[in-house]
Assembly symmetry: C2
Homo-oligomer: 278 residues x 2
């Protein structure tokens, strides 16, 4: 069945690897009969900075409460038009692909600003005006697939479980878990290409073929098994039950292991890197 996919793309150069990955995704999705929407943030001149000008009918002009004004503007249809337009694309989308270069171990500011501005109160948090009742696995974006695809300058070895940068899945946890899963999305394992400066023709061909495979399996691949807030693992909605991942602390405790009790990372990212290909 034909689906709608939104690609949020964050690189200004049409000849860059990120743009090539975006183009390959568009081609592959269209070949499968899907409808593709692209938010090319640099080409659109996307406003990255969330500020009071995004609220066209202020609830309280004496102060700037982003939570209150975002909720009011979203509920009353008085958000800045560019925010509303992105939310309309999101509403139509069955899946969203985020394509960006990893800068300082996170998304470029233009993409962070897309999250900051588009993920409004009432939609991506404070769903149904019910505080934190529906976060992490439920909420305004529930039922939608999310796939993060990033290019990394450094070698994969730096991102190993004991690599000096830390594992990529933990570095991207604020995005994958804290924004996308928080808002209800079903998040696939991150697609990462390492050592982009060293890609050679042969390995680039393999890498693109791997990426085409990820795109073909967009609605088939198993997601990261982030624990749902209301699935029983957090009886008070705040802290893991003692019997869940006993003794584990930190970010990875919020991902269910294939075998409970594993201490290995459990994001199961299919990694592609120059290192592995050579």
């Amino acid at each position: 069945m034909s689906k709608t996919i939104l690609i949020v793309h964050a690189h200004p150069d049409p000849s860059a690897l990120n743009s090539a990955l975006k183009d390959v995704a568009v081609e592959q999705l269209q070949a499968l009969g899907h409808r593709v929407l692209v938010s090319d943030l640099y080409a659109m001149g996307w406003k990255a900075v969330f500020d009071e000008h995004d609220f066209l009918d202020r609830k309280d002009v004496s102060r700037v409460s982003f939570v209150d004004e975002s909720g009011h503007a979203y509920a009353t249809g008085t958000q800045a038009p560019d925010i509303a337009a992105e939310q309309e694309k999101l509403a139509m989308a069955d899946a969203v692909i985020f394509q960006f270069p990893l800068w300082w171990f996170g998304a470029p500011a233009i993409l962070k600003g897309w999250i900051d501005r588009v993920f409004a109160y009432g939609l991506a948090y404070g769903y149904q005006g019910a505080g934190n009742t529906y976060r992490y696995g439920e909420g305004g974006l529930a039922g939608k697939i999310a796939l993060v695809s990033t290019t990394v300058g450094g070698p994969a070895i730096d991102y190993r479980p004991r690599g000096i940068n830390g594992p990529l899945d933990e570095l991207l946890f604020p995005l994958t878990h804290g924004a996308l899963f928080f808002a209800g999305m079903t998040v696939l394992p991150t697609h990462a290409v390492y050592e982009v400066g060293r890609l050679r023709e042969g390995s680039a061909a393999d890498m693109f073929e791997h990426w085409r495979g990820r795109i073909r399996r967009l609605f088939l691949d198993d997601p990261i098994s982030f624990r749902k807030q209301n699935g029983g693992d957090y009886p008070d909605r705040h802290v893991l039950h003692d019997a869940v991942a006993p003794g584990r602390i930190g970010l990875t405790a919020h991902v269910a292991s294939t075998e409970e009790g594993d201490r290995e990372p459990i994001f199961a990212s299919p990694r592609v890197s120059a290192e592995q290909r050579t």
Copy 2:
């Protein structure tokens, strides 16, 4: 001895808690005889988006390589003037305080864009044109103190070692370790105020007094004990030596425990929250 402190501030409302924390820091530092520089990013209309217009003399106009163009522009004095101005403040600063509201478990886009644009190749990475030789504890910003101060909407319980959001220190690791320590800075434990919507007069007074204490101890407090790349823990500059934090994986393995072998988080953030104060 009088020092120079740069405060990078990311909230548009002068009456907001973040602005009050910034004002308190300015007052306290000036009372101590220090010189204070403030980069009030919203007030300055800071350009968040790093793009090709930031390079006034392109090395290669046929493509946009941020690494190559950033290195060329930094080396030849052809960066956008607003970037160069921030780097001049950085060069003068003995310490830098980052003050921002936590949005989607990270810095607002305007502050991420400050890092993206100001942390140039040759300064914050690729120091001395030597690739990754001097990162993590050495580099262009070595000798400078960094203090991250953030306000959090949610309750502290959500950020406990097994709290549903994950520990704040791990969520901010891409900033504290991946950007500030990477560039050589000495990073203090993060200052966080939780449940900012529920601050009452009494607890706010306590919170500000605690913050004044942090400011007074800016050059005295022990930093987070991130492991230096070239201190012996990473013999190949990529992966932890087997004998260091044996068996530990993930982000927290890169912070030395007070007692080696501890499994508890070791960032030692002095936390202040409404929860703890009531």
